[in-house]
Symmetry: C2
Subunit: 245 residues, 2 copies
């Protein structure tokens, strides 16, 4: 429809990068592009930490389940939901901040999502590739200690950035009919649509370049959701001052 | 730096739209652009509900604190974090899904954020304007009932879309020095930087076209955070099957 929409629809995660570094001014531009995203009630709750120290990088790679590109990517950023900054803002006005609300956890986390997605699009528009690293949450407490995060700050995800040294296929998404509903929620036709989509995903996994497997979407999802999902998250977040009420 | 980054940095929320409608094929393209965003472990947990019924629109406008554009915008979408779909996927394989984890709430919510931000950028690239409606969470239970959301689905935010009938200024963001940190978290220079930024925001609010006020960033934030933040969110989300562990 236009070059921007074409760019958005060509997104693939990139996990292999050339050694070409990114100048600091490019990082700066990417951050500004991220900041330009909408922010709930002007809260601006996203803080980005850039990690260059090889030892920290190696530890973060270990924390995320030994994803080697966390250590080797030209740029690695950690996106933190940050309400410590708002504590400072309240202090400037001798205001007693009420924290710990689930709503605040949600808006701060979403702020990071919108910021990061803008940053990724800006990066891709410059020919860069990216992959989100949710795996940091595997060892979220250790990550927080490494980055010296104070109370009311937590690492939402990481992001590897660099010039692509691979050209993976675009992964097929659920049919629009499943994802877009009219007037109210209905799953009437979803089961059949998911089963048709399962075959599409199976073909994609069978034919893609590298890491081929026999797997459908519902099979992959059901295999994942019979297991516990990072059960340490709630106690950790509560310790950090989030989700207490 | 390039037209895409220029577009990202020109973002302003648009709350006044012309009457020009959006063809269904444009909506379809926007949804596809949204779906193309990264999705945590291929979870695809975002469902969008398009609301056209004027009565439902009027009720949603009321739910979001009487924001008239929720009723009048050419297009209104509600973004839902949806793990009901994954229940279907598990059922297809006779798998017992473990739900209620905080991690799942986070990934499903972030999925909606990345999806929506891609969609907003696609829309802006077509000359459309948008505003996120977090205010739906003011009466999140009523919104859920109106949209007949089942267990494991909740409305994260709404989005108004249409051709802009206003041209507001871009709102200044925090200095990059506050938002981008190196190697570890430090707030050493943040207090002074926020105070300088406060003056920038004060000038923006004083000079902008329409709805002028005397207000700095830290003043606005501290005024907001001395109040409870939607305290109904946690019990509501738990009732819907989220954040139980």
């Amino acid at each position: 429809m236009n070059p921007i929409i074409d760019l958005l629809k060509q997104h693939r995660s990139i996990r292999k990068f050339t050694a070409e570094p990114l100048p600091a001014e490019v990082i700066n531009t990417l951050i500004e592009a991220g900041q330009a995203a909408a922010t709930s009630s002007f809260i601006q709750a996203c803080t980005v930490i850039q990690i260059q120290n090889p030892d920290t990088r190696a530890q973060l790679a270990e924390c995320s389940g030994h994803q080697a590109y966390v250590a080797s990517a030209p740029v690695f950023l950690v996106f933190c939901a940050d309400m410590h900054r708002h504590q400072l803002a309240c202090d400037l006005h001798q205001a007693d901040m009420l924290s710990g609300f689930t709503e605040q956890f949600l808006t701060a986390s979403l702020d990071c999502g919108l910021f990061a997605q803008n940053l990724v699009i800006a990066a891709e528009s410059l020919g860069l590739g990216a992959v989100y690293i949710g795996g940091l949450r595997n060892q979220i407490e250790r990550v927080s200690e490494l980055l010296e995060l104070p109370e009311l700050v937590y690492p939402v995800f990481g992001l590897c950035l660099g010039y692509p040294d691979q050209n993976p296929e675009v992964k097929p998404r659920l049919p629009v009919s499943v994802v877009l509903k009219q007037e109210r929620y209905s799953d009437q036709d979803d089961r059949a649509a998911i089963q048709a989509y399962d075959e599409e995903v199976r073909t994609y996994y069978r034919q893609r370049t590298g890491n081929n497997k026999e797997m459908s979407w519902s099979e992959q999802i059901s295999g994942m959701l019979v297991k516990e999902a990072r059960p340490h998250m709630l106690p950790f977040l509560q310790k950090k001052g989030f989700l207490r009420r």
